[in-house]
Symmetry: C2
Amino acid sequence: MRDVAIIGVGMTKFGRLEGKDLMDLLAEASLNAMKDANVENKEIDAVYVGNMLSAAINHQTAIASSLVDRISIFPAAADKVENGPASGGSAVKNGFLAVASGVYDLVLVVGGEKMTSADTDVLTDYIATMTHPTAEYVHGITLPALAAMLMRIYMQRYGVTERHIAMVAVKNHKNGMKNPYAHIHREITIEGAMQSVMISDPLRLYYTCPISDGAAAVILCPADKAEEYRDKPVKIIGVGQATDVQCVHEREDPAVLKSCRIAAEKAYKMAGITPKDIDVAEVHDAFEILELVESEDVGLFEKGKAHLAVEKGVTEIDGEMPINPSGGLKARGHPVGATGVAQIVELVWQLRGEAGERQIKKDAKRALACNFGGFGNNTVIHILEAMWK
Amino acid sequence: MRDVAIIGVGMTKFGRLEGKDLMDLLAEASLNAMKDANVENKEIDAVYVGNMLSAAINHQTAIASSLVDRISIFPAAADKVENGPASGGSAVKNGFLAVASGVYDLVLVVGGEKMTSADTDVLTDYIATMTHPTAEYVHGITLPALAAMLMRIYMQRYGVTERHIAMVAVKNHKNGMKNPYAHIHREITIEGAMQSVMISDPLRLYYTCPISDGAAAVILCPADKAEEYRDKPVKIIGVGQATDVQCVHEREDPAVLKSCRIAAEKAYKMAGITPKDIDVAEVHDAFEILELVESEDVGLFEKGKAHLAVEKGVTEIDGEMPINPSGGLKARGHPVGATGVAQIVELVWQLRGEAGERQIKKDAKRALACNFGGFGNNTVIHILEAMWK
């Protein structure tokens, strides 16, 4: 297996991006990443597009081929990868495998989604199409309802209060204020969050991510060629992906994200490190409860203890283990297919020291991205390492 | 790069499969391939699902995770790959890269589509969503219309008659009669084909494939471990994928499938062989004109000469260069995401000598599959070789 490095990153602003369609977003993020990597169009050997809903809400298929045409990278091989909300992470993983195999040298991975052009009810329904069709979906389950049940069982078992969940949201909004790419630039308070609209008891509006448009991209190449393109290349030292039982009610323990645990184990094993070696993480807080559960299940905190770290400020930008310095899905936004790629873009900026006002205070060498698909039944983890440190 | 072998193949019957949904089809083909490979559920490290339209017509997303659940292959990594009608070929390619990289050992690749539950008008529209959204789709272009234009220009330029196109259809129906997995078991005549309904002048009904349900699967592993599972493993010696300008009217030459040429060149280069070394091929005859154009553009015949080979019977099952012994998309059917995988399943059976009544007469060692995405702007080619010959 060849070692693989990230030599360029780029994204669009996330938000309600009127006047830009899906292809505009994918093209903008791709060109930003290509510019960052100092690569020419003709050098790109393959492109992977992470996207969930183009056929359903944008009435467009074969979008990877369209992107090649739009940004003139013929005759690059081109595929779309779909894994629900982890489509971005899966696209990066397949880009990694393409370079690792030795078949492709320069690979563009871009994730994107154009969501705000669809009605919220339509979106909520389409997003629910990732649940089990005959044992969940037909009974009217939605992703917020699943998150509410996880939140309830987790709070009861570990003595976590709603206040802790609100603290995660407050921290992520604070980080998002400092991120020019974030969808939501608004500081919130614990009290405000705890008075926000109830969506599905105990899940309130401020404990969920917004609906966003946006795209993010990375350029991958063999690690031993990375410095030919730019300084500060970032190596992908660990990749892990794992699946679990689809129906939440059939899992051994609905408060544990088994796919997340196994994916993390695989990624740490490939990297030859342990959770103690991680300096900063981006985790998939489509709902704020998930930031706690995932940061435990990837091994950054003991099970049931992540809320204590939040209380102590450990996960803040200036803390010992910053989590979601970007603002996370909560504040940066969650254009579904973009998220897994955007997490990696943010971590590359953090490792390079290019994150501006939200730059974490510690000198980070290794970073972890956790992208969560389905309702936790398909998780993709990447571990990154600054090659120059 | 590790060498990669196919150690198991399986498929469902193609056709109008009442009472079976998409997941039923994917599961059936997968289990058939796993049985053929003598592998246990727990051994599968990753699964790739080739599918185009699940979100649009089956109201289901994240289907790769669902399949893992359905056939109990936890915690296998799982992604869906979409590349229009070449989704199956792209899924196989990414399975190949996954094994070649050294990250995964046993990989299941399954392609499938459940189409007949949707109205034909709806399907024709969704399939057209792979054309250029603002320069083709909005003007009402459909895939049959594009095929008709290619057929006209190609016939005019190379002195090919409608009778030649009908001969391709007749040959493929004859082969399909011998294939128990084929959708259509009906012999047709040249005269019957030439009197069939005109769809888009000069394209008649009998020059197009049907709308089908079905799935096909292969199991991949490192070539040096293949014999631990079964005899007669088939090596994937060449893989090529290439893209071209999306709008047909903007291409250098609309009668040439440039993506097909470049993909074939890449595949031959990886394999270290030339077109002369190919013994049998499955090509993407969604429209019969495509069998002629593709078999030329992959180098099996000189440009403009494939119809002469058809006249002479060269492409028949007992000919020198059998093409589409399965019956092709015309008679086997074209469940879109399944096709690229089904081509490879058929070629493995042909190489092993297990193709029953449609077994080609020559002793074949190498085979080529051409899976065509968009309207020819993203082609995936695989070259296979019998390891025991």
